[in-house]
């Protein structure tokens, strides 16, 4: 915990420019993103499976190694590192990846066959829905004919109306309209927690 706090203090002062440890030549300008992207690990052929990506349900976890059973029947061994980001409704910590969760992982396929994870999105869903009813902090959604219950999590759920800046106020979501919802699925239910809803206002 102290470590985290020390680290945050260091980073805070670095970005606000209150430390003088800046190393000379790179203080100005920006790097061309394209150059560095080209330098990254080999891209797959368009249309082909991406070896640096994995998808499936977590079947076992042993410390920093998680075993994922892919929906296509393949198995993946995914290694979490100190640098791995985990999203589960919101950015969270590595210990939140639990057996039974669904996930998408992006990383680097190592020679031993494990995927060293850079980013993991746990239980994330992206649904194009029809809002059929609204209750107290809950949205009833129709997703191609199936009913989905979307729980609004005050302080976490955000709304984007017509592509404007995201806000915490979801009260402009309308019954009978289409919307897109990024959320976290509650495993083995038809319920999700709403992270961001994109709607017309």
């Amino acid at each position: 915990m102290t470590n985290t706090l020390d680290r945050r203090t260091l980073l805070t002062s670095a970005v606000l420019g209150t430390t003088a440890t800046l190393v000379g030549a790179t203080a100005m300008g920006s790097l061309a993103p394209e150059t560095a992207f080209a330098a990254r690990s080999q891209s797959p052929e368009p249309g082909a499976p991406d070896p640096n990506f994995a998808e499936g349900r977590v079947t076992a976890r042993d410390g920093s190694m998680i075993l994922v059973s892919g929906s296509d029947g393949r198995f993946h061994r995914i290694r979490l590192t100190g640098g791995t980001s985990v999203w589960k409704l919101r950015p969270t910590t590595l210990d939140q990846v639990k057996v039974g969760d669904g996930l998408y992982a992006r990383g680097v396929l190592m020679p031993d066959g494990t995927l060293a994870a850079e980013s993991i999105w746990v239980n994330i869903v992206n649904l194009k829905v029809h809002v059929t009813a609204i209750g107290k902090n809950v949205l009833y959604l129709d997703h191609s004919g199936s009913r989905i219950v979307g729980h609004v999590v005050p302080g976490t759920s955000a709304a984007v109306y017509n592509g404007k800046p995201a806000v915490s106020d979801l009260s402009m979501v309308k019954v009978g309209k289409h919307a897109q919802v990024i959320g976290a699925w509650r495993p083995d239910t038809n319920e999700i927690d709403v992270a961001t809803i994109y709607a017309a206002a």
């Binding site: 993103p33 368009p46 249309g47 929906s71 992006r106 199936s146």
Partner: protein, 137 residues
Amino acid sequence: MAGLRGEVSWFCCGNAWGPCGTAGHGACGTCNSGSWQHAWTNTSDACYAITRPDRCGITGVSRRTCGFRHATTNLCNGARVVTTIADCGPQTDLFCGERACCGGTCASNRVIDLTPAAFSAIGSLNAGLIPCNVEAG
């Protein structure tokens, strides 16, 4: 085709977990979340009748069939991914007029949906919706 500017999102297809579970392998029968693929609004007459980008004022979306390559560039960071058509979508007309901007660059209307594998190569999955440029790849 000149570049098509619009919004990109992602969709799951093939075998999947959760509410995605019944997605199927898409209109081309080859779609998988883990592959670099995308959905296109004009893969056939039947497809175009559902997606209807013309209702949002986007005319001239070329008819392209399964396997055709498009390059999608994330206008927020310049990252680019080349994918092949594997499904029909997105349903552009449901979100007419929606706009996404990065700095001074804005894009309106949904023109393409990528698989999670392809989308996560150019942006964060939880970002959901990104302004983009699409060209024949």
